[in-house]
């Protein structure tokens, strides 16, 4: 449920911006010919910039440690899943996938344990995006030809999870999907 607070934050900031711009516009419309505008603009500019700098600094320090590269970095995964994406399907397997003859099987993953997806592509760039049962995007990584991206995640809820391609990959991009079960 990370998306809802993000939307609320954005709408609040957009609302504040609209109010500030409207207020400033109205102040100009109402201004008398003799009015001098903003007093001490340089000082105000300094404080405005400083506050913005501090806010951004706080945001940076608060959010960077949550980046996916550092999540579960020191833990050993309980389960490894190999993923090969290709136009327009995902191959998932417990074993390493042979790129010349890719074949996979149904995947079942443990809940509350660390899972590592080793994701690559056999043709173009694809996205490997995991959606929970309420169709909310919970995590993702890119599938890139020639590279293996390691995505780590701990599933809390058992059930079926869907995988959607989130990197545009051609004419059947919208139909490229797979799923797995968490028990």
């Amino acid at each position: 449920m990370q998306q809802q607070p993000i939307l609320v934050l954005f709408l609040a900031l957009a609302g504040i911006t609209t109010i500030v711009f409207t207020y400033i516009f109205v102040s100009s419309k109402k201004a008398a010919q003799s009015e001098k505008g903003m007093s001490n603009p340089l000082k105000k500019r300094f404080w405005f910039s400083l506050i913005l700098f501090v806010v951004l600094g706080i945001f940076t320090t608060a959010t960077i440690p949550d980046s996916p590269y550092y999540l579960f970095a020191d833990e050993t995964p309980a389960k490894v899943v190999h993923v090969a994406a290709k136009q327009f399907a995902f191959v998932l397997s417990d074993k390493a996938i042979d790129p010349t003859n890719p074949s996979g099987e149904n995947i079942e993953l443990p809940a509350e344990e660390l899972v590592e997806f080793r994701v690559t592509s056999l043709d173009v760039n694809h996205g490997f995006a995991i959606y929970d049962k309420s169709n909310r995007l919970i995590t993702q990584v890119q599938a890139m030809p020639g590279y293996v991206n390691r995505l780590r995640y701990k599933f809390k809820e058992p059930g079926q999870y869907d995988i959607l391609c989130l990197e545009y990959c051609g004419m059947a991009h919208q139909a490229m999907r797979a799923s797995f079960i968490v028990k």
Binding site: I6, F21, P68, M144, L164, E167, M171
Partner: protein, 480 residues
């Protein structure tokens, strides 16, 4: 005579951009209607329209900014009319080639044409990929010549240090660098850098194409090059618009002209650095990219907002706050455009946070934020210039009731179609889907709401289009 020729060619640019803009908006609306299941296009048609829509939009608003900057630059330095004509010819030819590759050849690798998709398309003509690459080459050459020519003209009058306004870091500088020249210089360097990256990218594409499989590119390198080019050019075209605002906002408002100060110089010098490194945020989800680059991506994206908000936006506030100014459609469009730019920027900063990006990347949140600062920001900057340009040689430009209602339409249409994107993004709906799977019941209705509001936006644009084009045609066919 020189300025008459410049007026005429600028009129041609304005009319060309507006025609292509209307066509591209219609393509966008058709895409949303297809997603809304009101019309039914084949996926290949949808994606080739998407490719045309994206690249045409990027192209036209880039050249709109360039044409405006070229026109205003004549106030300070002599610019080359021949190069302006070359850029126009290359742009028109490039767009025609591009449209042939997409509309007839069904090339559909999206405007980002991420390697190796152009070589692995299914459903397009065999010649389409080569024609597409050739169209980009033509556009790139034309724009590179134009940017280098404008920069050379600046450097004929100002030294490098002066063009960067470094003398303003000391007290009482002997030479004043106008803000317009400073911003144009900073922007042109960025433009040239990203166009050179595009050259490298295209050469690598051609190398693989003509080697017939003997040479294979590295996907990660190609992605970095693609976004260095793509992100930077999309960003720089906004800055071209800002150069115009620095030059014209105070002028049309009947206020003293803005001057370069130490903080304006500092802000824009920093902007150059941040804008060239922010593109890393497009590769957050490629975990094999060195972590240092990922962090630089977030820092540069955050820091880019500091000079923008602290200097440009604040300067507009100072110019307007409790100050009686002459409001015309031009500065109204600039003012609203700055607000749109800020709001789109907020959406961008949220998305450029790595821990948010993991749930927003390639959802509708992405088109949401970039349509905000383009359709409600950059487009308004350029429309403001177009309006000012078309009216400066004719009758009064007071804001009539009709203009106010057109602006209201533009705002209602714009906000509505953007909100459909933002809500879709927060609802995890993927971007670039020709149709939506049944798992997303809200996706199709939301696409239709977006299409309806985009149509309102289009009506407002058509009114501006007729109004501005009529005057531009007069300029074009007037003997003096």
């Amino acid at each position: 005579m020189e300025s008459l020729k410049l007026k005429k060619i600028t009129s041609v640019w304005v009319i060309t951009v507006l025609i292509l803009f209307v066509v591209s908006i219609i393509l966008g609306i058709l895409m949303r209607l297809n997603q809304g299941e009101v019309i039914s296009q084949s996926p290949v048609t949808f994606y080739s329209n998407m490719t045309t829509h994206g690249l045409t939009m990027i192209g036209i608003w880039f050249v709109a900014g360039m044409a405006a900057v070229n026109y205003l630059m004549q106030r300070y330095v002599k610019t080359s009319y021949t190069v302006n004509v070359i850029a126009l010819v290359f742009t028109v030819v490039g767009v025609l080639m591009l449209w042939t590759s997409t509309f007839i050849g069904k090339f559909h690798a999206a405007w980002t044409f991420l390697y190796p998709l152009p070589f692995k398309e299914i459903g397009s003509a065999t010649w389409a990929t080569l024609l597409f690459l050739a169209s980009l080459t033509v556009l790139g050459i034309g724009w590179l010549i134009w940017s280098i020519s404008l920069m050379t003209q600046i450097l004929k009058k100002y030294s490098i240090a002066q063009a960067f306004a470094w003398q303003h870091f000391k007290k009482n500088p002997k030479v004043e660098t106008p803000p317009f020249i400073l911003i144009s210089m900073i922007t042109l360097i960025g433009v040239i850098a990203c166009l050179l990256a595009a050259v490298v990218l295209l050469v690598l594409f051609y190398a693989e194409y003509f080697s017939k499989g003997n040479f294979v590119n590295d996907a990660l390198l190609m992605k970095n090059l693609t976004y260095f080019f793509g992100h930077t050019i999309a960003n720089e075209m906004l800055y071209l618009g800002l150069a115009v605002i620095y030059e014209l906002f105070s002028e049309v408002s009947g206020r003293p002209k803005w001057k370069t100060t130490w903080y304006v110089a500092l802000a824009w010098n920093f902007t150059l650095i941040f804008v060239l490194t922010a593109f890393f945020h497009h590769l957050y989800m490629d975990f094999v990219q060195p972590e240092g680059f990922q962090i630089i991506g977030q820092l540069a994206s955050y820091l880019a907002s500091l000079p923008a908000a602290g200097v440009t936006v604040f300067s507009v506030f100072i110019a307007v706050y409790r100050t009686k100014i002459k409001w015309s459609l031009t500065n109204l469009l600039f003012f609203i455009g700055i607000a749109g730019w800020v709001i789109g920027g907020l959406g961008a900063v949220i998305d450029s946070t790595i821990s948010n990006n993991i749930v927003l990347h390639n959802t509708l949140w992405v088109p949401a934020h970039f349509h905000t600062y383009n359709a409600m920001g950059n487009v308004l900057f350029s429309l403001g210039f177009f309006y000012w340009f078309s009216t400066q040689f004719s009758e009064n430009s007071k804001v009539s009731k009709f203009t106010t209602s057109t602006l209201t339409l533009l705002l209602i249409g714009g906000i509505g179609f953007l909100l459909a994107f933002y809500f879709g993004g927060a609802d995890s709906i993927p971007r670039r889907y020709s149709s939506y799977p049944a798992d997303f019941p809200m996706a199709a209705p939301m696409a239709n709401i977006g299409a309806a509001f985009a149509t309102v936006y289009l009506i407002a644009i058509l009114i501006f289009f007729f109004n501005i084009s009529k005057r531009c045609l007069k300029i074009l066919f007037s003997p003096s």
